[in-house]
Symmetry: none
Subunit: 198 residues, 4 copies
Amino acid sequence: MLPQTRRTPAGAAVLRGDITEAIQNAVVEELAAVGYGRLSIEAVARRAGVAKTAVYRRWSSKLELVLEIVSGVASQKLSLPDMGSLPGDLTLFLTILTKALRHPLASQIIPDLLAEAARNPQIAETLQQALRNTQHEMGVLVIQRAVARGELPAGTDPVLALDLLVGPVYWHLAVARHPLPNDYVPRLAKAIAAGLRG
Amino acid sequence: MLPQTRRTPAGAAVLRGDITEAIQNAVVEELAAVGYGRLSIEAVARRAGVAKTAVYRRWSSKLELVLEIVSGVASQKLSLPDMGSLPGDLTLFLTILTKALRHPLASQIIPDLLAEAARNPQIAETLQQALRNTQHEMGVLVIQRAVARGELPAGTDPVLALDLLVGPVYWHLAVARHPLPNDYVPRLAKAIAAGLRG
Amino acid sequence: MLPQTRRTPAGAAVLRGDITEAIQNAVVEELAAVGYGRLSIEAVARRAGVAKTAVYRRWSSKLELVLEIVSGVASQKLSLPDMGSLPGDLTLFLTILTKALRHPLASQIIPDLLAEAARNPQIAETLQQALRNTQHEMGVLVIQRAVARGELPAGTDPVLALDLLVGPVYWHLAVARHPLPNDYVPRLAKAIAAGLRG
Amino acid sequence: MLPQTRRTPAGAAVLRGDITEAIQNAVVEELAAVGYGRLSIEAVARRAGVAKTAVYRRWSSKLELVLEIVSGVASQKLSLPDMGSLPGDLTLFLTILTKALRHPLASQIIPDLLAEAARNPQIAETLQQALRNTQHEMGVLVIQRAVARGELPAGTDPVLALDLLVGPVYWHLAVARHPLPNDYVPRLAKAIAAGLRG
DNA sequence: TTCTAATCGAGACGGTACGTCCCGTCTTGCC
DNA sequence: GGCAAGACGGGACGTACCGTCTCGATTAGAA
């Protein structure tokens, strides 16, 4: 039996149940293209090859639409393997972080959502949770391991440590928007390790 | 002699020539309120208590409007007095930076413009220049002084140093949007100094 | 089954499909109020309680809008029952004419459209057609009947006759804007009959 | 001594005191071109090659501007020489009337002012006076002479007579906008004389 | 001759309407 | 019942004029 199909005027055939997925993909692309502020259900539906009613039947506003997608990403708790030493853990963490921040969609969408979070508490809260489930947990884990190994003093402030870990890379990539120079990650890892120790 | 005034139908009296200023203030407020993407000339004019034509007579698009304002801020080259030692210079720099980033309008507008810069090269370029004239120059100055004093090795990378200087604070305040804990600035200054030294 | 309705934000319920009619009524009222020259689509939409787009979806200019309405009136070909004698026919004709010209909207709109016709050929043409379908055909009919009855000579010029029939009433009501004195219609009918007979 | 001149940027030299006259000419031309409803002081000033302030210093509104011009025309009381017989007087009167109504500016402006009079009492009043000073007085004179000569009965209604005199010509020229056929005036005069007599 | 007052142009101001383009909402009718 | 199609009200666009108002320059006549 053939899967049920629908035909758009352009002739494209889309699997029936894939409408939800098509919309969500379209949302991500639209977010990257025009940002949250200019994102419109109309454009999302157009990009997904779907009628507006199909979108509104699933989500009642563009806020809901975006939050559900961000939440989906945020809920993936990441784990960080133990590399045996603070510099090793730092290097791995920074490598993962730089890779994530260099992903084209992420680098377009994240600053936009952060900006929107400045005026929309629901987006802010969802993003905080996403941060907590990713960078925060991973970063704290790195610090705890280093303290346990005796590489860092017991009173090391995880908040300050996290700022030192994530801030420079975020600033360099997402704000200053420069490419990473050679050996950036290991040199940064070394500096952070020294900074936290001293 | 009284200054010449104009009277709006509503009876408000506005100093002539202040129209330009009123518009620019309105732009800043609108940017903070709704962001660049949703900023409309119509709303700016309304908030400034001015006719749309008065805006279009001065700027031909909302991009020009915003760029001129950002450029205005960016052109104020700041100087940093020499505090005599690296920790002193770092503390002063971080104090200025945290104060700037905690300004309500700045904390609303900067992330928005950064997000917009991801898809608008002109905004990106203008922001880069603004950064260069402020954080960048000040930060490099701090490093050069420390090298001259022998507090840092001659080969210290100013790029990495700047990322360490600005990144954590920006991340903490503008991204994570948390208040600064006690003694944050001196502790961060100490950690950065240690990190840069070795 | 109840008729389908739409609800405006103000709560008014308007029958679907009546939008076209509401717009046309508004056009007539606006024409009477401010004339063709100052008629604006915006005001029409406002008066009709309808969005501007709803107007532009139907007509592309105020000229089209007005022409369609005038054409609508013009297309109603009127017939004139035979009263059996020239004075009778004349009286009936003049009665119908005076009634039409005393209608408040007509007396406001007709002079305005005539004035506009002096500089707009399309309006002029449409009005000519309207005249032909109403006064002209009826008037010629009256003359033909009288000739057939032997009340008027065979060579009676219908053009001159029509001018005598319509001109005085139009002048009195629409130009001089005076009310009709007592017995005006029968006295005028008698004079015209005598005049045509020679 | 040369007359004092002023120079416009375009280089045209205009006699100083002629500004008033230039404006009034421009008003007449604008009235004919766009009608009262769309007439604007701005366009008048432009056509006259004069600044808007020069107009507003003399008249406070376009109504005043137009009324003064119309009044100027209206104040010229016309007299009609006695041709010795009713047909002769009628023919002369109709000849003058048709000549006036065929003047290009008149045929453009009169219908427009009549239309405007339907919604502006001041214009209506001024026009009535103009009519009274021209057609009305002349027409009544024709009737009175004919009564005195015994060509018309004593009880002849001057109002009805005037409608018969002016209406057909106005209708034919200004409303139906047709050219006058051959012998129109004498044939019309004959018909009117017969109509009034019988 | 200098001053003052009037008048000129030029043009910025607030405002209204233009005709267009999207948008979110809602209804309809096909499948 | 879900879907597309599309009309609806609404809002902003950027433009074009308009009447009002202010300005600086030029002129004319009085001091």
